[in-house]
Symmetry: C2
């Protein structure tokens, strides 16, 4: 007696556990047990089931499993952030994915563009799919609509920025402290006119601005002359930096609020890169290759993602207790651009 080809048994449609059961000569439940690694099945029976599954090229239907599973959460988690194409967020997404995979979860990522409507749509879609948990880099808008989901058992963790309107575990960076360190580093190099180019409308930007303010105040320096509040991208930063450099009392040093803005500032500086000191928030791969290499306040995107994902899974695995706020420290990485002195300029 020869084994029939897999498709001869069941025309057209995919094999189900029932088909596997029939082929193995056991009941549906036994197949379920074997395929889920439950104990209490004779090894020979289990083997027969596995052979049957392989022969039929059985692929479990996760939708059915999710539908039935108590609590009804799929083995996926969702991540909503501003834009995966930004290397910073991409690194974070990879870290989240790694943690998820260790647990047998898949990751669905959505880019909100920091648009509250898109953010909500993404979050809704993810909830529709009954994801086990949601990791969000909030755009800043109210997230109150998540309260219901949370009550129904969806775990939500906010990363990089606090979530408005819901109380959830949060992983933050020590933004203010990081900037303060960076600016004081410039003060230490002798600078008195230190500009800040940032996007201070958003949470991280405002926190970073606060750090800038703290540092200047600690150093007894005036505050508002060299401040750019609304640099949203590299273009804006470039234009803003050009304007700053054209001032009578042009700054001798510039602090850039994030990796995009650092790029814009460096573009604006051109050959002046050897005269004007620069410190940027966020490290980036080519920082060491610039002339001079760029001093940064480094924040580890991967660590932020890992930390958030770990917290999410801790909750998923049943950890209770009050809402947590985890704050990650930053590191000043001196490479050259932040150690230039104001020499040659008044």
């Amino acid at each position: 007696m020869t084994t029939l080809p897999a498709d001869s048994a069941i025309e057209g449609r995919r094999p189900t556990m029932r088909d596997v059961a029939a082929r193995a000569g056991v009941s549906l439940k036994t197949v379920s047990r074997v395929l889920n690694g439950e104990s209490g099945v004779y090894v020979e029976t289990a083997e027969r089931v596995r052979v049957a599954a392989r022969d039929l090229r059985f692929v479990r239907n996760e939708s059915a499993a999710t539908l039935k599973r108590s609590g009804q959460r799929s083995r996926s988690i969702g991540l909503v952030l501003e834009n995966v194409a930004n290397p910073y967020w991409a690194a974070l997404a990879k870290a989240v994915e790694d943690v998820a995979r260790e647990r047998g979860f898949l990751l669905t990522t959505g880019s909100s563009g920091d648009d509250p409507a898109v953010e909500r749509q993404l979050l809704d879609e993810l909830c529709n799919r009954r994801v086990g948990g949601l990791l969000v880099v909030p755009s800043g808008a109210e997230l109150g609509y998540l309260a219901d989901e949370i009550e129904h058992g969806t775990v939500v963790v906010s990363i990089d920025r606090p979530a408005a309107g819901v109380k959830v575990d949060t992983v933050l960076l020590a933004n203010a402290a990081g900037v303060r360190d960076g600016v004081l580093h410039l003060v230490g190099a002798g600078h008195h006119r230190i500009a800040f180019v940032g996007d201070t409308v958003r949470y991280t930007g405002s926190q970073r601005l606060a750090g800038y303010r703290e540092a200047l105040s600690a150093a007894g320096l005036p505050f508002d002359r060299h401040l750019v509040r609304r640099a949203h991208d590299a273009e804006h930063a470039r234009a803003a930096a050009r304007e700053l450099l054209a001032l009578d009392d042009a700054p001798t040093a510039i602090f850039a609020g994030n990796n995009l803005l650092t790029r814009g500032v460096l573009e604006a500086l051109g050959p002046q890169r050897r005269e004007i000191a620069v410190v940027g928030f966020d490290d980036f791969p080519f920082a060491t290759l610039m002339e001079p290499p760029v001093t940064v306040v480094g924040q580890d995107a991967a660590e932020l993602g890992r930390s958030g994902a770990l917290q999410l899974f801790r909750r998923l695995e049943g950890e209770s207790g009050p809402v947590q706020e985890i704050v990650l420290a930053t590191t000043l990485v001196a490479r050259g651009s932040g150690e230039l002195t104001p020499a040659g300029r008044r």
Copy 2:
């Protein structure tokens, strides 16, 4: 009579369509019709249903819908690539996500690390979830195991590299032609000793190597003296470039096979960046900021992703016809590093 708070109606569990139906005083099917935008429902009935759904904060269970829906495909697509943390792949993922969102689909991305086992696991998990389609940047290993899925209606599209073992739509880059252009550009600048640093084991690397070979042969130059075949990352490239530069007949120009390798080569060059010409495959954000700015053979990752995703949805929407191979052109972007002449060096 006041409306009761949503949760008073149904304790604990999530509201289902049945709950919405009860509240709206209609049948389950009518709710389904309204929520799916089917025609043939009185506007007032539809409105009542929508109000009830809103009041109960009803969220549709996609698993149940997927389970029942004929063909059983979820409104998600999967993307398996080497590593989302690489800005190149991140840009591609974003482009895919954008196309998916236009169609109301979510994107689940997995990083295989080019490990065939991980790749297979990721692909399997995605199939378990009955995704509508699969976009793969194949690691190079046999993908024959996808044949069944494809037969069952899962659409698979291969991007950046051809899929081995299955016939699927494929979107490729004109790798060889791109490299040939870049190398001939260096020849045109007067170079006779042009090194190639690549990872020629993998598909794209081997194609690029072929372009290098073509160019040298067209220019009547010898081939094997300045060739590095196994540079997998920036570190390797750096070490390899150092060795090349230490040779008696050191190259006067280097072609780097991808963005990671370009970085490694630039690191190795250090101050020699103004003497040794460099052309890299892949554009990168900081290319214009280097000294000199880096000449590259640009390939548009976003276009690659978009193109693959569009093809996938075309198939999903029923387009039949033979398997397609789409080839995207590259563009040489001259910025300075590739225009350096061999002057000063023999």
